[in-house]
């Protein structure tokens, strides 16, 4: 596959070997390995409590004091987008984007990033004046203006309504096509994972039980069949029975 050869030619952006994380007696992450190639979009699925957020926080370097072992190779430029937009309420939108930004002309770069997420008109607004979708777009602008090599998304659209989520997903695909960061998207939404990612992982009891290249064909009919196939496979690995699947979907 094209991605695989790309992965072989270049050193991976993320290189995880034997990563283990524990909370008390419970092992949340149980010695997992993972490579993410340059520009690769990986989605990480898992039931609640499967350790997917713990894994993302380990990659983000946010798990202070959580005991564990393993090797964790991540690039210097890592951006994180959380489920809540996490904008500082006392800073205007543009100042939230420039926060901690180094280098030349931070303001111009921030305004450019806001233009990319179609938020130019709201640059001078206070975060509390924005809708949920707008807040999350500002958070995306803040993460992308740093030109990250690795973009970590922790259920970024989980709190949005269905319509806004759809538009945000399309925007995210556009932005990733333009900036080409390696992406790890943590989500519980199987459809979102298949639509956005090239590769889907399922985490269960601290291990990756599925590592699947989505590979949706361009032709509509074949695409639909492949989508249904991947979806069924992922849902059953998440513990949804065939009976449940038939009754609802």
């Amino acid at each position: 596959m094209a991605q695989d050869s790309g992965r072989l030619n270049q050193p991976p952006v993320v290189e995880v070997r034997g990563l283990t994380r524990r909370y008390g007696a419970r092992t949340i992450i149980d010695g997992v390995d993972l490579d993410i190639g340059r520009g690769e979009f990986v989605a990480l699925l898992g039931r609640s409590g499967s350790g997917k957020s713990t894994f993302l926080r380990a990659l983000a370097g946010l798990d202070h004091g959580v005991p564990g072992s393993g090797r964790l190779g991540t690039p210097d430029a890592v951006s994180v987008v959380f489920q809540d937009a996490r904008l500082l309420p006392w800073k205007r939108v543009v100042d939230n984007v420039t926060l901690g930004l180094n280098g030349q002309t931070p303001r111009e770069r921030a305004l450019h990033a806001l233009a990319e997420v179609e938020l130019t008109a709201r640059a001078q607004a206070w975060p509390t004046q924005l809708s949920g979708g707008e807040q999350q777009r500002a958070a995306l602008a803040r993460s992308l203006v740093r030109e990250p090599e690795l973009l970590l998304l922790d259920e970024p659209f989980g709190a949005l309504d269905a319509l806004t989520r759809l538009r945000m997903q399309a925007l995210l695909l556009d932005l990733c096509a333009r900036h080409r960061p390696a992406v790890l998207l943590v989500t519980h939404d199987v459809d979102e994972a298949i639509h956005l990612a090239q590769r889907v992982l399922v985490l269960d009891e601290g291990r990756f039980v599925v590592d699947l290249d989505v590979g949706l064909p361009a032709e509509a009919g074949a695409r639909q069949r492949r989508f249904a196939e991947v979806r069924g496979q992922l849902l059953s690995s998440l513990g949804v029975t065939g009976e449940e699947l038939r009754r609802v979907a």
Partner: protein, 292 residues
């Protein structure tokens, strides 16, 4: 909005259940179903003045009919004319200015001490261990009980008065600032980590703005306390100031002067509280949006 969509819906669709409803007596079916609104009711412009004005009216009526003894409580007009006389001969302004200066400098040092100790205790563990304990002990001791000791140490001059006011006002400012710093949202701390903020940037952009509302709340308490503290220090061995005027008036049985001084205290307290709220609105523009 809810009412509009309800009546509009009746005009457009005509489902079976609606026909059922119409077959009932007309009066019931046509009546728009509007819930009784709970809550204290609509605000009235200048409604807040209603209570004080009512009190003033009762007081005037009581004095005019002789129901209130002049030796117990002077009539409002007596208080007003006495006030005018005291302004004319300059005694009111002079004492007011003295009191104001004491209050101002006491509050000033209270803010300096409260804010800086709050920042020290809020930002470092060691600072908290060293500073917080003694302050909590000091808070447990009533301020009035400290006055004899302060008088022994610092005499009965201005220094002792300002120190007492500062000691009383710094506590709420310290507590609120410390609390504001300590309760900085953990999510924002995490954000600062992911953005690789330096310690200085973290302080300037995250911690201090997060603590500002707390500091301003403490300031609001501090301002009120500074007037309370003033009363305490001025009724002990003072030879000038509003508290001294009250003491003197008590000796001569001049209730109108006492009432006047109380009115001045009230005006000072209310206006300084308004000033702090005004500063708060200006300093936290992002909060105003929420209130709107």
């Amino acid at each position: 909005m809810a009412d509009l969509s309800l009546t509009g819906g009746q005009g457009v669709v005509d489902p079976a259940w609606l026909k059922l409803a119409r077959s009932q007596p007309v009066g019931v079916a046509d009546k728009p179903r509007r819930r009784r609104k709970l809550g204290p009711g609509r605000p009235i412009p200048y409604g807040a003045t209603l209570g004080p004005v009512l009190l003033l009216i009762l007081w005037s009526i009581g004095s005019a009919t002789g129901y209130i003894d002049d030796r117990i409580l002077s009539a409002p007009w007596t208080v007003a004319t006495t006030g005018w006389e005291l302004i004319q001969d300059g005694r009111l302004q002079e004492n007011l200015w003295t009191s104001f200066q004491r209050s101002f400098w006491g509050l000033f040092w209270g803010i300096v001490a409260g804010a800086s100790l709050g920042v020290i205790a809020g930002l470092s563990r060691i600072g908290e261990y060293l500073v917080d304990g003694p302050i909590q002990i000091k808070r447990a001791i009533p301020a009035l009980a400290l006055i004899p000791l302060l008088m022994l140490w610092f005499g009965i001059g201005e220094g002792m008065k300002i120190l007492t006011i500062a000691l009383i006002t710094f506590a709420p400012i310290y507590i609120q600032t410390h609390d504001g710093l300590r309760s900085t949202d953990a999510r924002f701390i995490e954000l600062a980590e992911t953005l690789d903020l330096s310690n200085g940037q973290f302080l300037r952009h995250v911690v201090l703005p997060a603590a500002l509302p707390g500091f301003l709340l403490g300031l609001r308490f501090g301002v009120t306390y500074s007037w309370l503290a003033l009363v305490v220090v001025e009724q002990v061995n003072a030879t000038s100031g509003l508290g001294y005027m009250i003491n003197l008036a008590r000796t001569y049985g001049q209730t109108e002067v006492i009432i006047l001084c109380l009115a001045v205290y009230a005006a000072l307290g209310l206006s300084s509280d308004w000033l702090v709220r005004f500063i708060t609105r200006k300093a936290l523009p992002w909060r105003k949006i929420l209130a709107d």
